[in-house]
């Protein structure tokens, strides 16, 4: 518990995470305002169109993962891992605190991003007199899926950071995998690609495209990814010497 408080203070006491949060808010605002305002009505009319439109809040996952990566890699980059380990040599507990801090940061990111997307997106659609085709369960799925997915990305970021340790390397690995590798695999081999984390996360939002997993299976798959990455990160933290 003490270590968790320490980790949360680490997140708040530099500008990095605040910067990520502001960047995310800015990106979400721009994209949601532009797409809701400029899309022709016949492209944002159906339920699936509107799910797609309002799912943009899930972009928070990228920022949450970056925050998780920073939580570990900046400690290696600036050497604070030494005092951190000296004050808490129980590495399992230390890693658990970091993973939990990543999860909590992700929850905040997810709530803000999806909250903004919903509030602004729905307001613009109403203003354009477009009928809201979403059902209550659509909305629940979007909000819960996006927030939970973003929180899980926070844990995955912590795991990835612990495995790679080099800050630039970990960030590149995340972006290259999330934006390039996954899309390639999903495009070429959708039966495999749908089990990858970004697409598993998308299925949690209520996408019903032909290759997507069901929401429930998608959630289980994304949780499994978080568990695997966290487990590998824990093993890396425990096994390696600190220079």
């Amino acid at each position: 518990m003490n270590q968790l408080r320490a980790e949360l203070l680490k997140i708040r006491s530099t500008r990095t995470t605040i910067g990520l949060l502001l960047g995310m808010i800015l990106l979400a605002l721009i994209v949601i305002i532009l797409t809701c305002t400029l899309s022709p009505i016949d492209q944002i009319f159906t339920e699936q169109d509107q799910v797609g439109l309002l799912s943009f809040g899930s972009i928070a996952g990228v920022f949450s993962a970056l925050a998780g990566i920073m939580l570990v890699t900046s400690e290696y980059r600036f050497g604070t891992m030494r005092p951190t380990f000296l004050f808490n040599p129980n590495r399992s507990r230390l890693f658990a605190s970091k993973a939990l801090a990543g999860l909590l940061a992700g929850l905040v990111f997810g709530v803000i991003a999806e909250g903004l997307t919903f509030a602004i997106g729905l307001a613009i659609l109403e203003g354009r007199h477009i009928h809201i085709a979403l059902s209550g369960s659509n909305i629940t799925e979007l909000i819960v899926g996006s927030v939970v997915g973003t929180a899980l990305w926070g844990i995955m970021g912590v795991g990835l950071g612990a495995i790679i340790r080099n800050q630039v390397g970990a960030v590149i690995a995340l972006l290259a995998f999330g934006f390039v590798v996954e899309n390639l695999v999903f495009g070429l081999l959708p039966s495999v690609g749908r089990f990858l984390p970004v697409h598993a996360g998308d299925s949690m939002l209520g996408f019903t495209g032909q290759h997507y997993l069901s929401g429930t299976i998608g959630s289980v798959v994304l949780v499994a990814w978080a568990v695997v990455l966290a487990g590998a990160g824990l093993a890396a933290i425990k096994g390696r010497d600190v220079q």
């Binding site: 003490n2 270590q3 320490a6 203070l9 006491s13 600036f78 604070t80 005092p83 000296l86 600190v242």
Partner: protein, 298 residues
């Protein structure tokens, strides 16, 4: 009795290279120990193993009788500074300490106390990137002092400090140890710690060269004899038969420890070896240290 620090056959191998080789020593409470050796001798690796940051290849180390990682709240027993630069540049000095004090369950008031102790109160709310090296050193020390520990471990604390900083550190360590607490301080320059320490551990190539009080080091090895001879190898051999160790200096003379010029002259005469120079030298502590460490490497 329980030693404050106990190292038993501590060994660390990196990629087949022995960084620390079968190192055993103990440190008693209330002492200031200088942990000395040239750069690359294995000092930092040893300290990392003592503090649970690195796992020994074999052997083991205990602090207050248990491995470091098994101390319930280690910050309350041990304060350590391994690098003077271990800060996030964008975090304030005070927040750096707060992240650590929280991990140890200490209140923020303790953070302000240690900031005052190292004279950083005025800079506490500035980001660390604006700190001078001396200020960073003191911030590191403040972190080590958060838990009011009984043992302080400092790795090369005088590196990069100006003379005023070195004096400040010396006074500080004396003050700390005067209350019966223990200090382990490493350095590659004996002179930096000679005025502070009670005893020295000297290592070279990962092995213990000398473990003695500073007094013994001074009285037993400061008198040596410098001798030149055309048959230097034979002379060294003759001296060794008489129980005198010597080392070869860069200008092809022999430096004989713990000897008088009479004794060395007599041995050379008895062995029928010509002598071109014979001179008694009182070496400084630093020379003793250099002899001890360079002697091992040749």
């Amino acid at each position: 009795m329980t030693f404050v620090v106990q190292s038993e056959a501590l060994t660390k191998k990196y990629d087949g290279v022995l960084a620390v080789d079968d190192l055993s020593f103990t440190i008693e409470s209330g002492t200031i120990t200088g942990f000395l050796g040239p750069n690359g001798a294995g000092k930092t690796t040893t300290l990392r193993m003592l503090l649970g940051l690195a796992n020994p290849t074999s052997g083991h180390a205990t602090i207050f009788g248990v491995p470091y990682a098994e101390l319930p709240t280690p910050a309350l027993r041990v304060g350590a500074v391994l690098e003077a630069t271990d800060f996030h540049p964008g975090r304030t000095g005070r927040d750096h300490l707060r992240t650590l004090s929280r991990a140890a369950g200490l209140p923020d008031s303790r953070v302000d106390e240690v900031l005052a102790l190292v004279e950083l109160t005025g800079a506490a709310k500035r980001r660390v990137k604006g700190y001078s090296l001396g200020m960073r050193q003191r911030l590191g020390l403040a972190a080590a002092l958060l838990g009011n520990p009984d043992l302080l471990v400092l790795d090369e604390p005088a590196n990069g400090l100006d003379p005023e900083g070195v004096r400040w550190l010396r006074d500080f360590l004396r003050d700390f140890a005067s209350g019966g607490r223990t200090v382990l301080v490493s350095s590659h320059v004996l002179a930096e710690v000679a005025q502070t320490v009670d005893q020295v551990l000297i290592i070279n190539h990962g092995r213990l060269v000398t473990e003695s009080s500073l007094e013994d080091l001074t009285t037993h090895t400061t008198v040596s004899v410098r001798v030149r001879s055309p048959k230097i190898t034979e002379l060294a051999e003759a001296l060794r038969r008489e129980g005198l160790d010597s080392i070869t200096t860069n200008d092809h003379a022999l430096l004989v420890h713990n000897a008088t010029s009479e004794r060395v002259g007599d041995i050379a005469f008895a062995a029928g070896l010509a002598i071109h120079e014979l001179m008694s030298e009182t070496s400084s502590l630093e020379e003793v240290f250099l002899d001890l460490t360079s002697g091992e490497s040749s």
